[in-house]
């Protein structure tokens, strides 16, 4: 799955140094390829066809469609890995936790599907799974050096950047 996740050199974990996924609305085509590759990356088979035909995986991405006056615009939204996440505070089972590099992760075994996290996440990017006792959220494909949605976006509408890098591109 690729190289180790990069921490900053001095081991400090300044939040803004942490890389996150930023979407650029002016570039997003709403094609949905990020969702296809997100499901595949988190599937057992890691094969696009098997993932979609046999496994039933919710993608960790929500594609927002915005209808302004004349044009339709889209952007892909996923967990913002907040510095001080409300979902972890609301989680009754300790399933929702933050690893030491700042990524908010969900431990499927501990989750009971109470959906308190969904109740408090202001971005609405945690999805209830069909099994009713677990949720799906973005884990930045931790362990691989670039999230699969970013790697496969045909128009580079989502990028994996630290905050300064992202602000430079607004």
């Amino acid at each position: 799955m690729g190289c180790v996740f990069m921490l900053c050199k001095d081991g400090s974990k300044k939040e803004s140094m942490m890389k996150k996924i930023y979407a650029f609305e002016s570039k997003c085509l709403g094609c949905g390829l990020c969702e296809v590759h997100c499901r595949t990356a988190h599937s057992k088979s890691k094969d696009i066809v098997k993932t979609h035909k046999r496994e039933n995986i919710a993608s960790a991405i929500v594609i927002e469609e915005n209808l302004s006056s004349n044009t339709v615009s889209y952007f892909a939204l996923q967990c913002r890995h907040c510095e001080n996440p409300k979902c972890i505070k609301a989680c009754i089972s300790g399933a929702m936790y933050k690893d030491d590099s700042g990524i908010v992760l969900n431990n499927k075994e501990k989750c009971v599907g109470c959906l308190s996290c969904i109740l408090v996440c202001p971005f609405g990017v945690i999805k209830k799974n069909d099994d009713g006792r677990s949720v799906s959220k973005c884990d930045l494909c931790v362990g691989s050096c670039e999230p699969f949605c970013v790697k496969n976006c045909p128009n580079e509408a989502i990028k994996f950047l630290d905050e300064d890098g992202a602000r430079a591109l607004i």
């Binding site: 952007f75 907040c82 501990k110 308190s116 109740l119 609405g124 945690i126």
Partner: protein, 426 residues
């Protein structure tokens, strides 16, 4: 080296300890708990009861959590008395009584079940009478029940119904009794409550509403209960889950101003200097009504615990006002609600319900003040933040009643600002 003492090892207590440790690497942090288990998720006890969660998974944190954070935990330790002058707490350690001194104290004792007066009810005498608040309750209950136990549950609130769900399939019959005219009266309006009730009744759990248990009968255990409407029910197991009361005895005796719960200022400090309080045992200001009341909510307890911890280490942090919010499931029916949800003329209510889904939004002068979602809970947090930020609905990109909620409800600038600047929050 500062000495921090925390009474209570649940959401508020543990979050406070973590907040303290992240900001005071060297302080001595002690947590005392009258329970014998490490910090566990209280709402999980019903999942333990029906085997959905195994005992080793009930704990919030893994074994070495406390050691890695260098927090000292004293289980089975009950705080007897707080000496605010000497800044000491008398604790009962088994038979022995000892004193623990503190520089900063946090009382996070949570709440305990409220036992209404019921004739000949005597918890010490009768072995088949239970409350359902702690993991211990759940463990004792699980040991006691048999395939043909006939169970009567007093209280159709969250705890009562969760107890019912926990027992379901392991006992002969379950009857739930409640004074109110509907289940989950404190959370739901009649129309929604009836949906929940109908769904649960499909599991052959029967309800006795607008009545209460006034008497129990039986040699040493309870074998029959008498209801105020005259009915009598055979009963092998009686679970009393009519409500909870904040544990404020310790505080009252220490002279801390309390009403139902302890009064705290914006920085979670009680009326006595260097004593803080957080969680189910405090009064919080309701964002929507402005009243001061007790919120028995896990997210609120974690939040307030964290803030109290910060303030105890001198980092001035204000507590945000809060409001009721719940996310709970009964037999697969997913209920998510927040804010003011009962109908009233002044609030215009929008209800969109199909076969087994319901979406109810309460709007008052251009602000969303409450919602109830049944089996249609995707992205509920966006509604919650609309309530929390008191967003003017007219400023949004579309009318939230017109379609499923999405982050695209915010304008472009607002969206970008939220994505870039939002750091999460207290």
């Amino acid at each position: 080296m500062k000495k921090y003492l925390i009474i209570g090892n649940s959401a508020a207590g543990v979050n406070a300890a973590v907040a303290i440790r992240t900001n005071d690497k060297t302080g001595d942090v002690k947590i005392i708990s009258c329970e014998e288990f490490n910090s566990y998720g209280r709402p999980l006890i019903s999942y333990y009861l029906n085997g959905k969660v195994k005992s080793e998974n009930i704990y919030c944190h893994d074994e070495d959590f406390y050691r890695s954070m260098n927090l000292e935990v004293l289980l089975n330790t009950k705080a007897e008395k707080v000496d605010t002058i000497k800044k000491e707490v008398l604790v009962g350690l088994g038979e022995r009584i000892s004193r623990i001194s503190y520089d900063k104290l946090l009382i996070a004792t949570g709440s305990s079940p409220f036992i209404p007066y019921i004739k000949n009810l005597d918890f010490n005498l009768q072995k088949n009478v239970f409350t359902f608040l702690t993991y211990k309750d759940s463990v004792k209950l699980k040991e006691k029940i048999t395939k043909n136990s006939r169970v009567v549950i007093a209280g159709a609130g969250l705890i009562g119904l969760k107890a019912a769900e926990g027992l379901f399939g392991q006992v002969a019959s379950i009857t739930v009794v409640d004074l109110d005219n509907r289940v989950m009266a404190s959370v739901l309006d009649k129309s929604e409550a009836d949906i929940i009730q109908a769904h649960i009744e499909q599991k052959f759990i029967s309800f006795k509403l607008q009545t209460s248990i006034c008497e129990v009968q039986g040699e040493n255990n309870v074998s029959r209960v008498i209801l105020s409407n005259g009915e009598t029910l055979n009963c092998d197991i009686l679970v009393v889950a009519v409500g909870v009361r904040p544990n404020v005895v310790l505080a009252k005796e220490a002279g801390i101003k309390t009403s139902k719960g302890m009064f705290v200022d914006e920085y979670m400090q009680t009326s006595v200097k260097d004593i803080y309080a957080a969680g189910d045992c405090v009064e919080s200001l309701d964002l929507l009504t402005g009243e001061s009341k007790v919120f028995a909510l896990w997210p609120n307890a974690s939040n307030q615990g964290g803030i109290a911890g910060l303030n105890m280490t001198g980092i001035k942090t204000r507590t945000p006002k809060t409001f009721a919010m719940n996310s709970i499931s009964f037999f697969g029916l997913q209920l998510t609600s927040a804010g003011i949800i009962n109908n009233s003329r002044s609030i215009d209510t929008f209800v969109d319900s199909t076969k087994n889904k319901l979406r109810k939004l309460n709007v008052l002068n251009d602000n969303l003040i409450g919602f109830v979602l049944i089996n249609d809970n995707q992205r509920a947090g966006i509604y919650t933040s609309l309530i929390n930020d008191k967003v003017g609905l007219s400023t949004l990109a579309y009318d939230i009643t017109s379609k499923d909620i999405g982050f695209n409800v915010y304008s472009k600038q607002e969206r970008t600002k939220k994505i870039w600047d939002y750091k999460g929050g207290y």
